[in-house]
Amino acid sequence: MSLKSYVVTRVLMTIPMIMLLLTFVFIIVRILPGDPALLHFERHVDPETLEAFRQTLGLDVPILQQYFNYLIGLPAGDFGLSMQDFTPISEHIVVRFPATLELTIYSMIYAVLLGVALGVKSAKNYDKTQDHGIRMFGIVTYAIPVFFLGMILQIIFSIWLHLLPTGTRFDPHYATPTTITGMYTIDSLLTGNITGFVVSLRYLILPTITLGTILCGIFIRLTRTNMLETLRQDFVVAAEARGLSSGKITYTYALKNAFLPILTMIGLQFAALLAGAVLTETTFSWPGLGTYLVQRIAHRDYTAIQGVVVFFGILVSIVTLILDILYAYLDPRIRL
């Protein structure tokens, strides 16, 4: 199959997946509970208020029509209105998403770097103490609830040692970097605001370590398994038999061959990363989409919950799509 037709197929495959997802979320939020409007008001309200409430949110029309309105609105960026204050959810997303994105990007980089480094170390020392230690580290980090790790780090580095700040993204004593992308570290660099960069980076460190550490176990395991598998292959022995050095073989052969699975895993783990971000943000009062979602839960703001969930879903689909295409482009065995 040619790369072009693969890309087309893959893009076409994403559409039914997103549709399925939208429908699924719609069913959960709008149909399962019966009447989300009634659910929103915990106590009894008078019928007129309820009716007006429904009308504003577009919940008064038949369910199928609601479904179509929702499908038609999405491509235009219409994620509906919040039940709490009737503001468009898309506005909140625009404001808060950069914070989440910044956190996830740094965490992913940290997780991949740490995971791959430890994985390589582990594979090179196969079945030795270091290998067992690193694998144990991977297993233990997998078993720690992300918010628990966040709290422990917060106590140690922020409260006891006063080394790093915590809570929110930026120090109120300084001017917030000018918004370009919404990601403070990038914005401050773009505007040449070094203080802003350092401050925002200091605020990022703890959440990034928290989220990244939880995730790095998977990359450790993946790198280790793939490297061991590659090092076991005939062509590695064949390369050794030709006099290539073991360092060269480890890094250019084994690591390079392990790179593609890692790429795939980055795509798969992006979803886990967003899920972890929800909890990390809440722990560190990081003003991203995750905290927004949790706040909306407390307010029983079901339309907002739906909007954020759908946004996350679409985001994941697109990231996976891009990585899949990248994979196909990089693997010589697929490119014919």
């Binding site: 022995v237 064949a238 038999a241 030709r242 006099g243 290539l244 010589p332």
Partner: protein
């Protein structure tokens, strides 16, 4: 003629969880220059392990535990940190850098499965670059290409295919690439480990033919490891028959086929189907080889041997020289 390679009392052990198995047990072997030695035996007899230990590439968990592998170097072999001076060197005494300098440059190894012996992620020309750069970091890109073209052309692969990936080649072509890589630096010794076993009979004949031609052209000394005695009959000058990690008999090819001395060699030859003699009654050896983790005392062949005597069950027969420089390890030939 002088010996290119002398193996003295070589013992290789595999330490597994179940126990220790001697893959190669006290083997002595001399290899004359410009000759082809066939190493034959059934699966698990240690012939591949023996070949690999010459390269110091015994697969994990195997380990050379004793003996010497002496190689006669006709000229100094430089490597990045020094020079191995000419004369006789013990391969087992070399350090990592030194043995790496010999691999590919003085000794080439061809593996059984061409499908897995080339790195699927890199192109064929990259394979050539790697081996040449490993032994001569200063070599020019141009020269690499030129030499690779020349070698591939000699093997019937058109030069424009040099920038293809391995998966774009058929099995026979890949094995030719492997041979080309092996001979790229004009080594003295070629160890071919079942080079045609995974190939079809026509391609097998083609490749054996090509190897024979290249041997003449490059003045190679060759060790051909195979279970197929038919292949050896046509190509080897001498044949060593192995069983349970020991050499049972070593004889010039014609003498071996005419009058095998060791009962095992005799039985093995009688079990080979011969397309030219359909009237030949095929025989077989009863029983199975002993488990090497629980070796039996004396000659390991004694439970299957029709001539087994009491001494066979207690004493390991030495490899002794009998008429005309033939070597045999059997108590039947004690008195000679």
């Amino acid at each position: 003629m002088a010996n290119l390679l002398e193996i003295q009392n070589l013992t290789v052990e595999y330490k597994t969880r179940r126990g220790t198995a001697r893959g190669v047990d006290n083997v002595n072997l001399n290899l004359e220059e410009n000759k082809t030695l066939g190493l034959a035996g059934e699966s698990g007899c240690g012939k591949s392990t023996l070949g690999r230990s010459i390269m110091r590439l015994v697969p994990y968990p195997g380990e050379v535990v004793g003996g010497k592998i002496l190689m006669h170097l006709h000229h100094d072999v430089p490597y990045p940190k020094g020079v191995i001076s000419k004369g006789i060197v013990n391969i087992l005494d070399l350090n990592e850098d030194e043995i790496r300098a010999l691999r590919g440059k003085e000794i080439a190894y061809i593996f059984q499965d061409p499908m897995t012996s080339l790195n699927p992620m890199i192109k064929v020309d990259k394979h050539f670059q790697e081996i040449m750069k490993a032994h001569d970091p200063e070599i020019e890109e141009e020269e690499i290409r030129g030499r690779a073209y020349e070698i591939l052309d000699g093997l019937g692969i058109s030069p424009e295919r040099i920038s293809d990936y391995p998966h774009q080649f058929s099995g026979g072509m890949r094995q030719r690439v492997m041979i080309g890589l092996g001979l790229a630096l004009r080594p003295k010794l070629l160890i071919a480990d079942e080079p045609t076993t995974s190939l079809d009979v026509i391609v097998e004949a083609q490749i054996l033919e090509e190897i024979a031609e290249l041997k003449e052209l490059f003045n190679l000394t060759m060790i051909l490891i195979t279970h197929n005695l038919g292949v050896l009959a046509q190509t080897a000058d001498d044949i060593a028959i192995m069983y349970t990690g020991r050499i049972m008999e070593q004889s010039p090819t014609e003498l071996l086929f005419e009058d095998p001395l060791h009962p095992y060699a005799k039985a093995l030859l009688e079990s080979v189907p011969d397309v030219q003699h359909p009237e030949k009654k095929l025989s077989w050896i009863p029983g199975a080889p002993p488990d090497l983790i629980h070796p039996i005392p004396g000659c390991m062949y004694n439970p299957r041997c029709p001539h087994a005597m009491d001494i066979c069950k207690t004493t390991i027969p030495d490899l002794i020289t009998v008429d005309g420089g033939r070597l045999v390890a059997c108590h039947l030939f004690r008195g000679d």
